[in-house]
Amino acid sequence: MMNADSSIAIAHDRFIAIAHDRFAEAGTPLGGVRLPWLESLRRDALERFRRTGFPTTKVEAWKFTNLAPLARTDFVEAIAQGVADIATAVVDGYRLTPDCHLAVFVDGRFQPALSDLGRLPAGTRVVSLSQADEADLRLVTAPPAVDDAPSARALVEFNTALMQDGVVVHLGRGAVLDPVQLLFLTRPGAAPRVAHVRNLLVAEAGSSATVVETHVGLGRGVYWTNAVTQVVVASNAVLRHYKLQAEDEAAFHTAATSVRLQRNSAYRAFMLSLGARLARNELDVLLAGENGEARLAGATLARGDQHLDTTLRVEHATARASSDQDFRNVVDGRAHAVFQGRIRVAPDAQKTDARQINRSLLLSPAAVADSKPELEILADDVRCSHGATVGDLDKDVLFYLRARGLDEAEARATLIDAFVGELLDGIEGEPAQAYLRRAFADWTRKGARP
């Protein structure tokens, strides 16, 4: 019997060997251009990954999430699997609105024929990473905005070493893009596939955009999406970033999004996480300019044997910025939801306003929710608060609804709807809100089926 950590180590050696083979054969060009700095950066990343290995539960940031099932799986790189022949009707089924700007990826590879980017407004650019310019490549490979132990970042390093495609959304000064959808589709294959997706969202001064990011699996099967997204929001820009993680229930989804906020800018995130057997959704936000505002919210809906992890790191590096984390879990079956939320306030980040709340609803006796707040407040003139609650549906409230004629299933559904619906109310823009409401309603319906 092998213990989890030694099996991770073996898997890790195998991954390293595959990566080295790739480097030896083809080098590491992105978009056909060889950039020496980028090649050495990728080799260094691989070397760091080799040294740390996959994070184990001994790494503080990973203590609730065990990657052993992922590390034990033999993945082939999805990106080598060729061009997708997918009907537009399939794409339409996941589309935000029939006429939204749309970038489609299949198995991690950009699909121009399935995308709809012909009517982009002036000053905006949405392209595949293979068409990124050198400045974009520097931004997309920048280190995460918030510090953590190298062992906690191994998946980002792995992505840096092996990334081949992704999307670049670039908003010039004052540009408006509302909305654009980034749709990542994965077709499970005979062998489990992995796609290391790398994205860049840049909102230059005074620009404004709504970006809806969707991850779905086309059919049953094991695969792994390992996405890294870099976000820069310049002064006076507003970026709404809404993510739907609806991977297949046999899939792995790991994502690390890293956001830098400059003066007077705003970043509004909502993450609806309901797919994958094991998901880790990391969001790092650096408030680097005064009056920056980060409003982060999300709902995790877990059932069956799902393990869904949301990990946030918010860093107030400057005075007078505000951040708000409002995350809720609905956990059924034997599922496990994890919320980790860090708030760090630098010594001179006076007048910081930071809030965090995590609420979990446990629908079955075997459901688990772990909540770990982590506050490091080094300034003295700040307003910071955090809170966490875990509970099942309130019996008296259920009785009240039933005493008015709702049956038990209806009463329960009403309360779960309300719990999640309150958060969905905060999503700005009708199409995005309606889209995530539909996804939530689908989830509810699926659960109601016997």
């Binding site: 005493a403 004629g405 309300a418």
Partner: protein, 250 residues
């Protein structure tokens, strides 16, 4: 309408109702009075089917059928309504959505067509006017940010919407100022009609000046110790419960 026979009820292993007998004929309004802790709310919850209250002896006949095995929602659909002493607050659920589901659940059970959004709104407006409540109530979350008086009015509004055969009003008068009491009492009086029975649970005689009962029962330590005409309420108001508590203990 309602026939309670030798009802014994336990809560968490403790016997609270110790042999209650009560007959409420169709179309009548009866008051149940009693000191705090005598078991009034327990009686109300048992009638509505709360699972935390165990009937250990006796039975409750509602229109000739034993209620004790019925789920709360079945009772509601059969026309039993409980106005709660402490209505719960439910964030994120609007009164409109909730009441529409409730009204349609009851209508469906009765074999009546379900109301669409427009029909529902029309009905709701009528009933809101009865309780002198603002239409804005409908888009607000259930009882969130409501004053004590608004919550009680909302209960009677729900009663008006659900059109019950048997209404159990648990201390609907408590916490109301005199104006709010008048409005609620007018609402209840407007809902009196032949065939509809009302069990009015109250600690004070005050409400009974506005909604005059046909009969008054006094509940002390889990038993009906005395029943009589409306004069009994005045007698209690004058003398208090002390004598009856003594008599019950004896």
């Amino acid at each position: 309408m309602l026939n309670i026979e030798n009802l014994h009820v336990e809560v968490e292993g403790k016997e609270i109702l110790r042999g209650v007998d009560l007959v409420l004929p169709a179309g009548e309004v009866h008051a149940v009075m009693g000191p705090n802790g005598s078991g009034k709310s327990t009686l109300a919850h048992v009638l509505a089917g709360h699972e935390g209250y165990n009937v250990t002896q006796g039975r409750i006949l509602y229109r000739g059928h034993d209620l004790t095995a019925m789920e709360p929602e079945e009772r509601a659909r059969e026309g039993i309504f409980l106005a709660f002493q402490y209505p719960v607050e439910i964030p994120g659920v609007t009164n409109a959505n909730f009441l529409k589901s409730a009204v349609n659940a009851v209508r469906k059970h009765r074999g009546e067509p379900e109301l669409d959004a427009i029909e529902f709104l029309k009905l709701a407006r009528d009933k809101l006017a009865l309780l002198r409540m603002d239409e804005k109530l409908l888009s607000r979350a259930i009882n969130i940010g409501f004053s004590g008086g608004e919550k009680k009015r909302n209960e009677i509004f729900q009663m008006a919407m659900l059109d019950p055969q048997l209404a159990v009003l648990d201390e609907t008068d408590s916490g109301l100022d005199i104006d709010a009491l008048q409005v609620v009492a007018d609402g209840i009086n407007a809902l009196r009609r032949p065939g509809r029975s009302i069990l009015m649970i109250t600690h004070y005689q005050r409400l009974l000046n506005y909604v005059v009962p046909d009969w008054v029962h006094v509940l002390v330590r889990g038993r009906i110790v005395k029943s009589g005409g409306k004069e009994l309420a005045q007698e209690l108001e004058a003398k208090g419960y002390a004598d009856m508590i003594k008599a019950a203990a004896a």
